[in-house]
Assembly symmetry: C2
Homo-oligomer: 323 residues x 2
Amino acid sequence: MSRKYEELYQAIKSSSNIMIVPHKYPDGDALGSSLAIYIALKRMGKNVWLISHTPIPSKYAFLSENYTFLPLELVPSDLDLIIGVDCADKERLNLSDDYLKRAKKVVNIDHHVTNDQFGSINIIQPVAATGEIVVDIFDDFGFEIDKDIATCLYTAIATDTGNFMYSNTTQNSFEKTARLFNTGFEFVDIARRLFLEKSLAQTRLIGLAISKMEMFQDEKIALITVMKDDMTQVGAKEGDCETLVNIAVDVETVQVAIFIREITKSFFKVSFRSKGDVDVAKASQVYGGGGHKNAAGCAVNGDFETVKQNVISLVKDMFFKSE
Amino acid sequence: MSRKYEELYQAIKSSSNIMIVPHKYPDGDALGSSLAIYIALKRMGKNVWLISHTPIPSKYAFLSENYTFLPLELVPSDLDLIIGVDCADKERLNLSDDYLKRAKKVVNIDHHVTNDQFGSINIIQPVAATGEIVVDIFDDFGFEIDKDIATCLYTAIATDTGNFMYSNTTQNSFEKTARLFNTGFEFVDIARRLFLEKSLAQTRLIGLAISKMEMFQDEKIALITVMKDDMTQVGAKEGDCETLVNIAVDVETVQVAIFIREITKSFFKVSFRSKGDVDVAKASQVYGGGGHKNAAGCAVNGDFETVKQNVISLVKDMFFKSE
């Protein structure tokens, strides 16, 4: 057992009252990893409180069918241990210094290399998902990984690796997931929920977006626009727009995909996606936005037709001028 | 080394001229596994011919960028060894008895439990993909698995497991894939090509199909119809229809998805998909079709409106009568 793991093990062993905290606006990794730890500690006979600062996204509701993520207010004040899970920094742990003083120790289990080491015990490993670290810790401690815990940790690893397709995926992601497969957990059902199922409104919105998709520059540029009326027409919610730009960038000829969404009549959110070396962060920076080489965004003021023409011209001039 | 592996190793060692045969109408597993074996045997200094009875689907064209799948006619007649890869039976190997007599031995490497053992050496293991067996054989033989071979074997395992989401996926699928990850192969690019990218026509066809999708029985039944005119309108090809029924079954409320495709004005192909215990093979059997519990199909004669009404009534009566 490494020194860090030994420290964590002793801290758990000597604690009675333990609180587990996923980062605010929790994703599959934060929820799955923290719930796995909750189940294991309950089995050890500890008093454990699992909280969430913000609501659980409906996509992950299946995780909390048998377990409840409590609001912070319901946790008693005499804690021995606070375990932050998948929190890259103290801000995402979202607990005041006064609150942290209630506990004898604060554990910080996370996979972000930029982690600010807010804990008294910091277990930070640069892997794709915190779930991978939890598998490792459980095996090291000899904690049983059964069906319920495997469900949580598969959700953690599979979501943070984009179903094993994001570039953060490593040998370790596959090895730790392999480790979960002898438990007989219902991975087909869970994979369906996580990666395939959509609401009817989301499906209708995809249909509408494709029907409105425009192609430019020999099908190297694709534009999808969604107006407020479109959202109303199909009964879509705010979050239903999130992945629409992927439909455009997944067209095989496309090098730059643009997604324009109407917020008000004169204010639009613009997302860019690209393939290979086309650096769309440069395009978003023109409008004061940010992002990465292959995924960036900005906000633009103006009337729709002007915004649209300006954004298309910008992309054409910036990336396809020589053609 | 197991006796079977030892037999295979000796057969390869004592052979100079070797032909490798993926099953006809090859998929990602057949192509990836057979190309991996081709590369390894070439490196051993063997004379190797890799054939394909039928064209390579464009989705897998990247595999043959540096390698050519030859037509059978270009293979010389003096062979020492024929290796059938991912061929569940002699029919899919697609070689006459006379042809097989050209070789001293026939090796049969496959993962279908129903395999008819057509080889003189049969290596049949009930795993999700033949690619998993090839990883095991190469490690056993001490063959180097580098970037090129990892590309082939990842394609084999990832496609046959539906990107690790089909129910055939096991601990072994993840372990064998993990094994490929220390080679630095471009898995993000390959995963994109295999699972995300679509032609513009395929994307337009999805949009059109969603816009025409009809819901019945409190959104538990979804119907998608594609007519010949729809195909023409978006420039879609025959194969572009294949996965459209999934869009309907992936709507979270849907229990039965129906896909009707016009072949002629009075002849239609009908596909059914279902979730959980709803056995749609029963519905396809009414029209003399077949399939499995959750995926079945049949062909139906009649004019479109009659066919459509009859199929919907059938599904309602068979699965939702008590509601």
